[in-house]
Subunit: 345 residues, 2 copies
C-alpha cells in the first residue's frame, strides 16, 4: 500500500454490534466507494477473516489487509486503564498503524474515551493545539451545526476553548461547506458578562481571534434554531448536551408513539402520516453523518455512535477519507498558529 | 391581613405578557382557589386597578391589596444593575413585602436573574445554606423529575452542590410526593471518577450526605428516561440543559408539523391524530406546574416561565401557597444542619 493517505484503519471491535456491524460497514464501503480507499481491518484476525467470508469477501481482497489485535476494549471500560492494560486491543493497534505511517486515519464506533485517550497518547497533539475536541454535527431547524467539544476534554482553559472555536470553524468551512460560519460560546445567557468564570474568561479570548465570525455568548435556546453554526463549549457541557438531546428525542418519539396508540382514530391517523416521521428520522439520523471527528491530534480519527449498523460505519469510513482528502490537520496547525501570532502583537 | 403565610405577593409586571397575563392569572386564582389565599398585587397601581376592573373585579376586593411599584424590570435587563437602579420595581417591592412580614411568598414570571438577585439581596440565605438554586420540575417518560439548580448559581463548590441535592430531595419528597427520591449528580458518564473537577469533588461530598438516596453520577441519557428523580448540577449546566431541551422540543414539533404538511395523505393523517399531540403538549406543559421555586433563600418565591398566560400564573400562585403550607424552608434548614453535623463527626 503506497499512499497511506487513502488507507483507513478500522477498529473492527468497536461498537455495540461489533464486529458484525463493522464487517457490514466494510462490505458496504467496498461496494459503495469503489477503489477510493484501502482498509486495514484491525481486530482478532481469524474472527475478522471468517466474518468477511460470511459476507462473500475474500480476506485477501486487494483493498484489504488484516491486522491482528486479539484484545477488545468494552464500551463501559475505564478508558485510560483499558489502554494501558490492553496494548493489543483493536483501538490501540489501529492508532499504532497511523503512528507507523501504515494508515492515514482511524474509524471506530467503540468506547469514545478509549479512542480519545489512545489518540492522545499515541499520536500526541498537533503543533500549537492544547487539547483535543470532538466535533459532532447536529441536525437543526435550518441545517446542521457543529457541537465542539462534545466530550473529549472536560476541564478547559480559555485557550482550549479558543482552539475549539478555531477547529470548529475550520470543520464547518471545510466539511459543511459554509463560507463564513457563525461561532457562538455556549453560556447561560446571551448578554456579554454572562457565564461561569470559565466562559467569561474565554469570551475575552474568543473575541480576539482573527478570521472567525464570533457572535458572542449564546444560550440553550440558540442550539437547534439555526442562530449559529458552531457551538463552543467544554467537553463536560458538550457531552451532557449531546446525550440529553439524544435521550429527549428518543423519549419524545416514545411518548408520541404511546399517545397515538391510545385511540383507534389516532392510531389510524398515525399510520397515514408514518412517512412524515420516517422523513424526520432520516433527517436527524446520526448514522448519515457517520460519526464525529476527534480534532487537534496528530492524526485523523472519526468516532461513530456505539449503536451504528453497517451503513453508519460505511459513512464513518468515508468521513475519515474526507478529513484526509481535505488535509484538515494542516489547516488547523496554520489557523492555531495565526491565533498565537495575533496574541503576540 | 392577619396571617402572612397565606398572603402571596404577585409581581404584576413580570413576564412577556405582563400585566395582562398576570391579571388573568389573579382572576383565575380568585375564582379557582376560593378564599385560600390573599394577594398583594405589586405593580403600577392605577394600571393594575384598571386591569382588574376590566376583568370585572373590584380593586377593593377583600382578598386583594394593591401595592404601588411604578418601575418595571424588563426581561432582558441586567439583573443586578436593574435591582440597584430600580428599587421601586414590582419585583423588588414584592420581595420587600415578604421582608416586611406583609406577605409569605412571591410569584413572578419576570426576569429570572432579577428575581434571584432581589431575593438573595433582600431576603438573604437560609441559615446554613450557601447559595440559592432553582428547582425546575421536568416531564419524563416515567413521570416528573427535578432539575436542581436550573440557573441561579453558576459557579458551584462541592458544598453548594450538596445543598442542592438536599433541597432537591426535600422538594421531591414534599411537593412531588416521592417517599425516597433517587438523586443523581449530572456528569459526562456514570462511572465513579467521571466528571470535571467540580463534579469529582462533589461526588465525594454527596455520597456522605445522610438520608438521601444518592445513586452517584448520571449522564445526559438518564434525564428523561426515569433513572433518577433529582438531577443535581450547577446553575450554568442546568440552565443550558433546560433551555436546550425547551428549544429541541419546539424544533422537533416544528419539524413534525412541517414534514406532515408536505403531502396530502400525511396532512390528513396528522389531522386525525391531532388529539394525541395535544395530549403530549398537556403532559409536558410547563404552565401546568406553575413555575420553579427558588430554594435556599429566606422566603418563598416561585418563578414562572416568561411566556405564561393566565393559567400558568394561577398555577404559579398555587405553587407559592404550597411551599408556604408545607413549610419547606424550615425543613431545608433542618436537613442542611444535619449535613453539617454529619461532617463534624
Amino acid at each position: 500500500m503506497s499512499d497511506s493517505r487513502v488507507v483507513i484503519a478500522v477498529d473492527m471491535m468497536g461498537g455495540d454490534h461489533a464486529p458484525s456491524a463493522v464487517l457490514d460497514g466494510v462490505a458496504e464501503a467496498l461496494s459503495a466507494f469503489g477503489d477510493a480507499y484501502r482498509y486495514l481491518l484491525v481486530g482478532p484476525q481469524e474472527r475478522v477473516a471468517r466474518g468477511l467470508e460470511e459476507r462473500g469477501i475474500s480476506p485477501s481482497h486487494p483493498q484489504l489487509e488484516l491486522v491482528d489485535a486479539p484484545q477488545t476494549v468494552g464500551m463501559d471500560e475505564h478508558p485510560v486503564k483499558a489502554i494501558r492494560e490492553k496494548p493489543r486491543s483493536s483501538i490501540v493497534v489501529a492508532m499504532d498503524m497511523v503512528k507507523a505511517g501504515r494508515a492515514g486515519g482511524v474509524f471506530s464506533a467503540g468506547n469514545t474515551g478509549a479512542a480519545v485517550g489512545a489518540a492522545f497518547l499515541k499520536w500526541r497533539m498537533l503543533e500549537g493545539v492544547s487539547r483535543p475536541g470532538i466535533a459532532t454535527v447536529m441536525p437543526g431547524e435550518k441545517g446542521p451545526w457543529v457541537l465542539m467539544d462534545s466530550g473529549a476534554t472536560v476541564d478547559c482553559s480559555p485557550l482550549m476553548l479558543a482552539h475549539f472555536a478555531v477547529m470548529g470553524d475550520l470543520y464547518a468551512r471545510q466539511v459543511l461547506g459554509l463560507s463564513s460560519p457563525r461561532v457562538g460560546l455556549l453560556s447561560n445567557g446571551t448578554e456579554e458578562g454572562k457565564g461561569n468564570r470559565q466562559v467569561q474568561e474565554a469570551f475575552a479570548v474568543l473575541r480576539q481571534i482573527p478570521g472567525i465570525r464570533f457572535l458572542g455568548n449564546i444560550e440553550g435556546h440558540d442550539l437547534f434554531r439555526g442562530t449559529v453554526d458552531v457551538v463552543v463549549c467544554d467537553g463536560f457541557v458538550g457531552n451532557i448536551v449531546l446525550k440529553t438531546c439524544e435521550q429527549l428525542s428518543k423519549s419524545l418519539s416514545g411518548m408520541i408513539r404511546e399517545s397515538v396508540m391510545r385511540r383507534t382514530l389516532w392510531k389510524f391517523g398515525g399510520l397515514l402520516c408514518k412517512g412524515a416521521f420516517r422523513e424526520i428520522k432520516r433527517r436527524t439520523d446520526a448514522s448519515e453523518v457517520g460519526g464525529a471527528p476527534l480534532l487537534g491530534v496528530k492524526g485523523s480519527c472519526v468516532i461513530g455512535h456505539g449503536n451504528f449498523q453497517g451503513h453508519g460505519v460505511a459513512n464513518g469510513i468515508r468521513a475519515v477519507g474526507e478529513l484526509l482528502r481535505l488535509q484538515l490537520n494542516e489547516r488547523i496547525v496554520e489557523a492555531v498558529h495565526q491565533v498565537a501570532a495575533s496574541s503576540l502583537c
